[in-house]
Symmetry: C2
Subunit: 875 residues, 2 copies
């Protein structure tokens, strides 16, 4: 066995911060702090290796424990069990990965009938000494001897003496042994108990849930105790080296005099702002700032630390990278770069891309929020905070929106709800996962969205949740960051960054925006992947451009067929009985489509716009019952019988794998022709106006090269009918979303001018997971650890990813330099963007609001690849 | 250009039978016959190469035409246009691939005002000569000049002379030209017209539909005409070298005196049996038999020939491999091997595996059938002939079956219909394709099955089709070979081979069975692939064994949960609210499952039996409406509210990709445990009885190695609960049916002991085709030639096949020698079996009735591979 025990203290340490696997997070941190000259109470860490050996052969003595203890006693200047001035130690667990509260700790170790009197004398506070001893007896009895905690509880005894007597009595009764008076015996038993606690059920469950291997073991740190509750010149506090809310470089924290850490946490007393310590104990304050800013420089990140002052002497107990808001993360990263603490690349790696979303979203006023009960929790599908009157139907949402903000509450949404979703601030559903209709479409619209909230019981005109009943018009709030549903109206604040981007707030008035701009400029300079947005409407496209999109990667044209004016025409098209009738109905849609495309292309002037042709099965446009058929047929001026017949005839068992995508284009070539004409005519008209346009026509759901050619031939035919289209800069390509397309990618690419991976459908088919239905089993899969992550949220690199790689490789064999992008939901997921970078894609495309995150993720992917050099491979 | 014209006649020929690409099928056949010394009227063939050149530069003279014509005149001893004894020729098209009736022909060419008199004089029949001329004018006018045929029609003229005059008059009026008197000009124009007819719309459509390339071109054969209508010593006939119905080696055919070929075909006169020609013209008859048996020897296959006798002189006009019944094919192949005309390998390649199906099925009495109208046509999904009272529900079918044979008629079938399907002789559905539930399950049961018959209008108690209405109990008949629905009761005949196999007919009394046995013995000796059957019930397993199955490749255990006794228990299991409740319900199913498995394993003693664990989504077992829920809940003794709740809760948007297969096993581990215990307990009890068993437990729908391990761990847990299971010979493996499983096959195979490809689901997911829904577009795809074949009938080798190869290769990397089989419907498709052989699979598994066909297909695959040597690759 290597060195079993690592000492720290006196400004030195055997270990250092890089030894987390051996010393645990806590042990490594203390070693590093000690090396940094921070005033850390001395101690030593028994390695995880000893723990592992101990698991194989329990009960064996820890080699070198006695020697380590003697060194600790020398350093502390006190001896364990000493009758005059006893050393007290804590014995704590600490593993490579943080497992907060899962394993055991024994505090105040070293007290017995003799040394307690020494502590009483030294501290001048006998009650404190007796109470400290009582705490040891209780903790030792519970942790080491396995006596349930509640057994030690008792009606408050008259005094500290009686309470200690009671504890010792309980210990004796429950364990049939005396409390061990020998402090060394106490220590040996406590170390053994800490090692054993690695295998307690809580810890095992936690590891399973968090994917931590069972064979790592825990380290055990024995450290001299210090006490903040020894009078006015004692106290305890927590602090940050920079403001964790804004990132400003200023001392920040709280301090409570004559108290221990747990008193701060319990909220029994109100601590004072850290800055006031400057007046109370200027020396201690100066020392604290010096030490912690030294730690920050050494650890090269903003720190969150705990400290104790014992009779005017400062001790640092813990330091770690500070948790921070997205705004603070940005500012700290940029400031530290300017302070030359870190490089630009490091700065870019420091900010979680997902956190950028937060900067663009309205948020709840945190203080106001505390007053509102959480009613239920669903899946956070669209970030942001939304509050509004609830509406149970799309129509109700539209009319309620005239009076104020609205939350659309539905069991699940479908394309018929689009107008209601657009009218609402937020969307709340009872079923569906992170890629359900509500989630995908809602997020695409930038709506706040909470889905799959199973505790909702939604009726036609009421909602039951958390034991309460709500009616149409009642106020609720939803938090799209956490998935929480909150009672009542919680005030929200608009995003500062977005207001600057949109021009409603002067950039000069926003510190945050200046940091945002700098940071994003750095990110853009570092990345290779282009970032586009998925957008169907000019407004979304404008937003996307503001957020940095370099084109549209996916315009879903079918969204253009919904809406009051268009749906009747669509209906007429579907029930048409001859190609001629159908062409007539499509003729009515043509000018609308052309204007749609003109709006989008104009907004994205100078940038590429990928237009996916009609994709969903026709039955999505049809009524669900005979009454609806009647009503809608009347509106469209067609025979209701025909409408209902069509609805029944076109119904499918598995619509996901049915008559949709280019399969519709094959059986209804008129649709492809109309859409191609509309794209080319729009491009032509804009070109005549002097607008630079580059439409990319995308054929969906191609599996056979023959069907691609069939559709591309129709586009060519349409081009013949649009004068001047030969001189337009447009291309025709395909969406790769059927596994077969990956296999035959080489042949497809001989004809197709670009590939765009539709990773949603590709995931559905490669895994055989219907995203409408996989909610029925996915949670259990994730809990059991059978899947590492929801495959619709993060790309399944091993399975789906290999097909993507195959398609890219083969596609570029068929057409060297083939442009490849991704337009599925994964295009906005930072981890997946890393994969797409490595797979050699040219761009990713995502919802407009995810564009900044995608830009950063792309930069991080490029930096990581550069750092890893050629050795980098997908884990 | 190579040689442009190939001469034949006088027992010689420039070409031969191998030059189909150059001379067309007809030209190559005539050359071969000529070389064989058959008395073929002389002629010559202008090559397809000339045609191709002609397409590029129309109107160019055919090089060497005049010289070829002079050679023909010498050989025939007559001259074109001769005033005394004119030569008449036919000018016919003929491409590499047969395109019957699609291109043009001109007959009787060479007549004009002068030569017609010569013909009249020589034939002694002026009316014949004039009529022959009229036919030329009409045909030439139509084919060469493009005058619609009907323009030549007229009220019957007084005589041949007037009719000819009318034809010439029409010609003049419509073309504004005189009929060309110069026979050489006639010839040049006719050749040009034949070449042009390659590009006529009919031919283009036909080629598109049949996948024939457009750039092949047609050959053009010019041949001396002979006439069978020149009196008593003239005539025409067709014959076979062996009996095409039985395969017996005997002359067979028909002869009609003083007639031309078209008179035989038109049915205007009744021909006599060929044998009677022996008495009428013994010399001609002897010569005919000698010539045709010579052709058979030379061409090494039974021939179907056409001949004409002109004034006592025999002419062979055509010969080709004879079409034959399955029985004849077997007998001819075996006999010819014994006659040393062909090798055993050739014999095995000569029989179409699909034809073997016919031998096992009841068939209609062909004569009786002619009296029954065909009402509609669907897809032939299960071969055989069935007749019976129609029933519109499964229950009605069951009760009607007590009174006589039944046809179950349904819009489509689902698992609730199983008992009705079992009770019926045949199944007829209005929707669904070749792999719909009705097709797959019906075929699996060996039922005659016609599906997707769109012309049926099925009500609750009546069926409208072909303008008639049928009620429950009316008689219909269906032909599972052709997909036809016939009016009334058509008598059927049972399969002779099956009766012998089942022991109800002594093999000594069946010539056919002796040939069948010999032939199948040869097939079994030649193949490498093992052949198993898909069977769920002991009766099916027994049948499969008789048909040569070497194990069960797929037992679908879910079929065991239907039926009156079990469905209520299943219902109780599904609505169970705790694992304990569910285990109790499963406890009631356990003894039934165990007995199911015992029955199957006992039947297959000594052979492997693959048992697939529970696969379908639970909602398949639930009611479709509240009334049904009420009724079924009562039967199961559970709360109807719970049943209907479950039905709604478990409903899925895309059940194919939903909560099924091992996903159910993960969320409901009790089901896997129960099934594993049932398999192992059954095996254990049989072993104790001395029965040799080898169950193979198959986990369905695995996509992640982790889920396989989860399920395999449950099987191991179950094994602990079955005493003595450690000494049982069983294995655990998985079905490969999700594309992801193919990608991660190496990792899966490290744990799984075998792979079985579920190519139905693998095809669904790889192509994104729901087999319940693809009927909505697949016909159009096939008609447009976008797909070469229905991918559920024949494996998509390029797409799905590549994933299969990937999985085999990777799987065997993870576990060398991994046993791989296929149990999807493709396991019974001869072409697909060829692929599976080449992909290195160990076995195929198919419906019992397809086992003989699969054995032969496997043999053919092995032979083809051997012949192709290493150079063999998938086309």
């Amino acid at each position: 066995m290597a060195k079993p025990i690592f000492f720290f203290g006196d400004g030195r340490a055997d270990g250092h911060g890089g030894l987390k696997a051996l010393l645990g997070g806590k042990g490594a941190g203390l070693a590093e702090m000690s090396r940094a000259g921070a005033p850390v109470p001395p101690g030593f860490t028994i390695t995880t290796e000893v723990c592992r050996a101990h698991r194989r052969a329990p009960g064996r003595a820890v080699p070198g424990l006695e020697r380590a203890l003697r060194r600790l006693e020398r350093s502390a200047g006190r001896r364990l069990g000493d009758a005059q001035d006893p050393l007290l130690v804590s014995v704590r667990s600490g593993a490579k990965f943080s497992m907060p509260g899962m394993m055991d700790t024994v505090l105040n170790l070293g007290l017995n009938a003799v040394s307690v009197e020494g502590l009483a004398a030294r501290s001048g506070d006998r009650a404190f000494a007796l109470d400290t001893f009582r705490r040891l007896v209780t903790m030792f009895g519970n942790v080491v001897m396995g006596v349930p905690k509640e057994r030690f509880e008792s009606p408050r005894e008259a005094g500290a003496e009686a309470a200690l007597g009671h504890a010792l009595e309980v210990f004796r009764r429950e364990t049939r042994r005396e409390f061990p008076e020998d402090p060394r015996e106490q220590l040996r038993a406590a170390v053994e108990a800490v090692f054993k606690s690695w295998d307690n059920p809580r810890a095992v469950t936690y590891r399973r849930a968090n994917g931590i291997p069972d064979d790592l073991g825990t380290a055990c740190t024995v450290q001299a105790m210090v006490f903040g509750n020894r009078g006015g010149r004692s106290g305890t506090g927590v602090g940050f080296t920079r403001n964790p809310a804004t990132g400003a470089k200023e001392p920040y924290g709280e301090y409570l005099a004559d108290a221990q850490g747990e008193d701060v946490v319990s909220g029994a007393a109100t601590p004072m702002p850290l800055k006031r310590l400057k007046r109370a104990m200027p020396e201690v304050y100066r020392r604290l700032l010096a030490v912690t800013s030294g730690l920050e420089r050494r650890l090269r990140d903003a720190q969150d630390y705990e400290f104790t002052v014992e009779r005017g002497r400062l001790y640092l107990l813990q330091t770690r990278a500070a948790k921070r808001t997205a705004a603070a993360a940005l500012r700290i990263a940029v400031d530290m770069t300017r302070e030359r603490l870190i490089t630009r690349e490091e700065a870019l790696l420091r900010v979680d891309p997902a956190a950028l979303d937060q900067l663009l979203k309205p948020v709840f006023d945190e203080k106001a929020r505390r007053g509102h009960a959480t009613l239920a929790k669903g899946l956070p599908a669209g970030p942001g905070a939304a509050t509004g009157h609830i509406a149970f139907s799309a129509d109700a949402a539209v009319s309620a929106a005239k009076r104020g903000p609205v939350l659309l509450v539905r069991p699940e949404t479908n394309p018929d709800d689009i107008h209601g979703m657009m009218a609402a601030q937020g969307i709340l559903t009872a079923t569906g996962g992170l890629t359900s209709h509500a989630a995908v479409v809602g997020r695409g619209m930038g709506k706040v969205c909470v889905v799959g909230c199973g505790d909702l019981d939604i009726g036609a005109h009421s909602l039951k949740v958390g034991g309460r009943t709500f009616k149409e018009g009642d106020y609720l709030s939803i938090d799209g960051f956490t998935g929480e549903v909150l009672l009542g109206e919680v005030p929200t604040q608009p995003s500062e960054v977005l207001r600057c981007l949109e021009g409603t707030l002067a950039p000069s008035r926003s510190v945050l925006f200046r940091y945002y701009s700098t940071f994003m400029r750095w990110a853009d300079a570092a990345r290779r992947l282009k970032v586009r947005a998925n957008a169907d409407r000019p407004g979304d496209a404008r937003e996307a451009r503001l957020l940095g999109a370099e084109g549209i990667g996916l315009c879903r044209t079918e969204h253009m067929f919904f809406g009051e004016k268009r749906l009747p025409k669509m209906l007429a098209m579907i029930v048409a009985e001859t190609p001629q009738e159908r062409e007539r109905a499509l003729g009515a849609l043509f000018p609308l489509q052309k204007e749609d495309f003109k709006g989008l292309l104009r907004e994205m002037a100078g940038l590429p716009v990928t237009i996916r042709f009609f994709d969903p099965p026709l039955h999505e446009f049809l009524p669900h019952g005979p009454e609806e058929a009647q009503r809608r047929a009347a509106a469209a001026g067609v025979d209701p019988g025909k409408v209902w017949d069509a609805a029944r005839r076109l119904k499918e068992m598995n619509p996901m794998m049915g008559h949709r995508g280019c399969r519709l284009g094959v059986t209804h070539p008129e649709i492809t022709l109309m859409q191609a004409r509309a794209v080319l005519a729009a491009a032509r008209e804009l070109k005549d106006e002097g607008v630079s346009v580059s439409p990319e026509i995308m054929i969906p759901l191609v599996g056979y090269p023959s069907e691609y050619r069939h559709q591309a031939a129709l586009v060519a035919e349409a081009a013949k009918r649009v004068p001047g289209s030969a001189r337009l800069a447009y291309s025709v390509g395909t969406m790769i979303e059927v596994p077969r397309a990956c296999v035959v990618a080489e042949a497809i690419a001989r004809d197709a001018e670009f590939f765009s991976f539709g990773t949603n459908d590709l995931t559905q088919m490669t895994l055989g997971y219907s995203r409408d239905d996989y909610g029925k089993f996915i949670r259990e899969y994730l809990e059991l650890g059978l899947l590492p992550r929801d495959p619709f949220a993060g790309l399944d690199e091993v399975g789906v990813g290999e097909l993507v790689r195959m398609a890219v490789t083969r596609g570029r064999k068929g057409r060297p330099g083939l442009k490849c992008g991704v337009c599925g939901e994964h295009g906005g997921d930072p981890a997946s963007i890393g994969f797409f970078h490595r797979a050699g894609l040219d761009y990713v495309s995502c919802s407009p609001y995810r564009v900044p995150a995608a830009r950063l993720a792309a930069a991080q992917a490029a930096i990581r690849e550069k750092r890893a050099g050629k050795a980098y491979t997908t884990a």
